[in-house]
Amino acid sequence: MIAFVHRQSWVLGLIVLFAFLLAGTWAIQPDYGAGGVGSLVRAALPYAFAVAAQTIVVIGGGIDLSIAAMMALTSVTAARLMTGASEEFAILVVPLVLLLGLVLGAINGILIVITRVPDIIVTLAMLFVWQGAALLVLESPGGGAAEWLRALVVGTASMPGVPEAITQWIPKALVLVLVCLGIVWIPLHRSRLGLSIYAIGSSSLAAFRSGVAVERTKIASYAVAGLFAGMGGLALTLSTGIGAPIPGPYLLASVAAVVLGGVTLGGGRGGLIGPIVAVFVLRLLRSDLTLLAVDPNVATIVEGTIMVIVVMLGAFIAMRGRTS
């Protein structure tokens, strides 16, 4: 138990921070209730997928600057395909868009492996490529989304046998994000591939010498990131009802939440829970500042400063841990 607490101390700290923020929210706004939680989760939805994508790449020792652009591309593709199409057609669109995300990510990975150019440069170049492709698919925000798909992210989950008093606190979007991430992450984490991703992030030379197919693992990690980005793009289309070809602020937010979530840049360490909790911490902080009637621009300053300080503290603690 103590070992568990010690190992997960960062994540537990984040959860405590989240609880404090939530308590603070109630202190500011006593009638902050199920509705508030629902809109918080809906706002966090695309961020959560972006962060999941970034997390897996960073664990594998890389970094993906093209995540927001991939989300934009998958989002406009989904919106374009669903415009004017029948409701049933959307059943085909979902796997198609997810496959597209997987392929985009795999292309990133393959290019990194064959060109041997550093990850950050390749994904920087691909950021322009995916952004350009998104503009070709849809020049300006538009398109549509099937109603039954949109209903997946709006409202609360109702389960038979569970009283309304409990279900009203569980937004559908939360269930959606947990299910989507869990379906991919849990089997991956337990598989050989998951272990290999941690191994190449920790030391690609040592992994190579222990018989890990480093290049194939790297491509796989980017492909899974692409899949998450595809989910994120889809989530964007579902929650707004349209697709926008200009990438949102997800790149910066994803890197920030990954670091805040206890994943070391450089790879090999961390999990998915920390970054996901970090996303909710950052979003809740934002809505707290809004509730406090802080000017949104000042809120940006506060958010940035807190991010910098937290990361500094984290780096400082890590440094202390290493020297002692």
Binding site: I63, L111, T115, R116, V117, P118, I120, I121, V122, L124, A125, M126, L127, F128, V129, Q131, G132, A133, A134, L135, L136, V137, E139, P245, L252, V255, A256, V259, L265, G266, D295, N297, V298, A299, T300, I301, V302, E303, G304, T305, M307, V308, V311, M312, A315, F316, M319
Partner: protein, 327 residues
């Protein structure tokens, strides 16, 4: 391209390859000339004195920002706050020049640059935060401050100092005035990197930080000085860019950020530190400027242009890496 030449002259091939890897500037300059020739073929007559002066004018702000990236990359870092710093300097100059003397306005405008540089240096050098995160964070804070500041000056209007406009857009005897600033600046940077102790420290820290520390290098002092210099250079870029574009906005220099990283990378600086130089980055900035005109001339949709831009940057970096690895 090196492979084509190798195939054409088999006995010479090895020597050409070695020459290219010893003098990495040569393949870059060849690429630049090839791009200009392609442009001339596509649009005969476009390449004239005026076009060259124009291209140089637009390449200079990018080249100065590429200096920030080159120097930080030499230590294994990166500075993603440069575009925010440049935008802040430009916007503050334009608004302060209404009430103050232009010189005073420019000095005021460089204060936030100094502050952000100090913050970056302290975060990266002392607290050992990853440079990517640190500079992204400070740039976020900077954008917030700028938006709040804009609220306070919304009624004052803007005034672009005539001296900046002269410097950035003026042409004397066919030579852009901006070169008056850029040539000494570039010479100073190249001299600093190649011949001074500070330059050697940057390479040393980036090549092997532990070895540098053990030889008595004060890591945090080097990093702090580096990020302050980088931010001040970015501030100067903002001033030049303001004179060039003449329309201050809150996202003025934002489009320069990723190209500045690309210019440094094309110029042969390794993002892992310890290898590279500024001369390559200048050619890299020129290549990107010519490439932009080329893609505009082709009259493609914006999306296709971005795709090509990304692919070319990737192809050039990959080809260049191959040439250097032959060493």
């Amino acid at each position: 391209m090196s492979q084509m030449e190798t195939a054409a002259a088999v006995p010479l091939g090895r020597r050409i390859r070695r020459l290219m890897s010893d003098q990495p500037l040569i393949p870059l300059i060849i690429l630049l000339i090839v791009l200009v020739i392609i442009l001339q073929i596509l649009r005969p007559g476009i390449v004239n004195e005026r076009w060259i002066a124009n291209t140089i004018k637009f390449a200079i702000p990018l080249a100065i920002l590429a200096a920030c990236q080159t120097m930080t990359m030499l230590t294994g870092g990166i500075d993603l706050s440069v575009s925010t710093v440049a935008t802040m300097a430009a916007f503050i100059t334009a608004t302060q020049a209404v009430a103050h003397d232009p010189a005073v306005a420019m000095l005021i405008a460089l204060v936030p640059a100094l502050a952000i540089g100090l913050a970056n240096g302290i975060g990266v050098g002392i607290f050992r935060v990853h440079p990517l995160i640190m500079t992204l964070g400070t740039s976020l804070v900077g954008v917030g401050f700028l938006q709040v500041y804009q609220r306070t000056v919304i009624a004052t209007g803007t005034n672009i100092p005539a001296s900046l406009a002269w410097l950035a857009t003026g042409i004397t005897y066919g030579i852009p005035n901006a070169l008056l600033l850029f040539v000494p600046l570039a010479a100073l940077i190249i001299f600093t990197l190649r011949r001074t102790g500070f330059g050697r420290l940057l390479y040393a820290v980036g090549d092997n930080e532990k070895a540098a520390r053990l030889s008595g290098v004060q890591y945090w002092q080097v990093i702090l000085a580096l990020y302050v210099v980088s931010a001040l250079l970015a501030g100067v870029t903002g001033l030049v860019y303001l004179g060039l574009i003449k329309a201050p906005s809150l996202s003025l220099a934002e489009p320069l950020l990723l190209p500045s990283v690309a210019a440094a990378v094309i110029g042969g600086t390794s993002i892992f530190g310890g290898r590279g130089g500024y001369a390559g980055a200048i050619v890299g900035a020129l290549i990107l400027a010519v490439l932009t005109t080329l893609l505009t001339v082709l009259q493609m949709p914006e999306g296709a242009r971005r795709i090509l831009f990304g692919l070319i940057v990737l192809a050039v970096s990959a080809a260049y890496l191959r040439i250097i690895e032959d060493r």
